[in-house]
Structure formats: C-alpha cells, structure tokens
Symmetry: C2
Subunit: 123 residues, 2 copies
C-alpha cells in the first residue's frame, strides 16, 4: 500500500476516533508509547488515554489541512506530520494545531503510535 | 547529555546556520536524508541544500517558540518538533511555521538529519 495512503488512513481513523470516543484511542498506543501534549510528557497507553480523556472540553472536531509522511528508517516505521484546525464545542474560533506521529509496524501488519507530539499554533 | 538540551542545541545551530548561510546546512544531512518542504519531497543532502538555497528570499530570521523532543526508538534516534516564526526581509508580518526533525546518531557521536518535514501554518 502506498505510504501516503496509509498515513492518510491512519490520520482519518485517529481524529474520527478522537472526536467520537477518546478512550477508543488506547489500542493505537502501547506501553512504551510517548505523548508530548503542549510540552507535557506522558508515557504508556493508559496514561495517554487518561490525559486525552481529561482535556477540558467534551466535544471537538478536528479538520485536517495537510498530511506529510516519510519512512523513518530501516525499522519499517513511518513519520506522519499533520496540520489542521480544532473546533471546540461552544467556541467561536477554531484553534490551529500541528501534530506528529511516529508509527511503528506491529507483528499483525498494522501500526501503533510510538511517538506523538501535539502543539497548538497560537496566532 | 540531557536529550532536551541536545534538541535545543541542534535547533539553535540549525536555524542560525539557515539564517546566515543555507549552504552550510549540507553537512547536517546525508545521502538518504529526506526533506518534505511544503509538500514537496526531496532526498539527499545536495538536493536538500539546493532546494533550501533556491527559496525565493535572500534574508530571513527564524524565531523558535517551542521545542519538543522524544527518543525515536532503540536506534538512538531523536525526534525534535519545533514551532516558531519566520521573518522574511521586507515583509511586514512574520510567518508561523512548524517543523520536525528525526535525528540519527553518527559514529562520531554527533547527529545527522534523517527526516525533515516543514510546513507554514497559514492563519
């Protein structure tokens, strides 16, 4: 499968899950996965899901503007770089964000998120 | 050395070199390095330097707002995620950008850029 298509499919799945049911993101991470969210470092799927679930908004909608991807090296990993807008329920203006994922292959032929770094882009 | 300090030192070196002498960035990349610049994929140090040197502005100044880093896996690599502003000579307003680097260790104990993805964040 074309890497760009894999990246696009991952990104669509990730944000649709995030916007519908953040707890459902847990199976995309593993115990050694890392998230840096606005500078805060969190490790491991349970802690990452707890962080994402505790964000101070109930409903949100991600709109992806760009998706770039590159192979990350000989391990079969893939780097995915996303920019987009995040609309929070009740807020007039969307927030701009950038996020990168380092995806690593699983023995089952899928990918999990090894690294995840998220930043809002303040205007 | 603390990974955050390594990341910060790399970022400082990268952008000060970019702003003073873009051709000097060549020794940070290798033949298998990849740059995705605003969606355009370029491979190899000479091609990357040619691309950066051909950007349609002579003088610029990067101002870094945030630097996040994570180890990228068992290979000793490091992911560095940057947000900041890019001021072009003669332009009134700075442009916002996000950029990620995947740094890999060299036998000499330094790092080279395996992956580089750059995007402007349009308001």
């Amino acid at each position: 499968m074309d890497p760009d298509a894999v990246a696009k499919a991952f990104v669509d799945h990730y944000y649709s899950t995030f916007d519908a049911n953040r707890a459902g993101l847990g199976n995309l991470y593993q115990d050694n996965s890392m998230l840096t969210f606005e500078g805060q470092k969190i490790q491991g799927s349970p802690n990452i899901v707890a962080k994402l679930s505790s964000l101070p908004f109930q409903q949100c909608k991600h709109s992806v503007s760009t998706v770039d991807c590159q192979p990350s090296g000989p391990t079969g990993g893939m780097l995915v770089f996303v920019s987009g807008n995040l609309q929070l329920a009740g807020e007039q203006h969307a927030l701009k964000f950038s996020q990168m994922f380092h995806l690593m292959p699983t023995p089952q032929g899928s990918f999990f998120v090894q690294n995840d770094i998220f930043r809002l882009n303040y205007a």
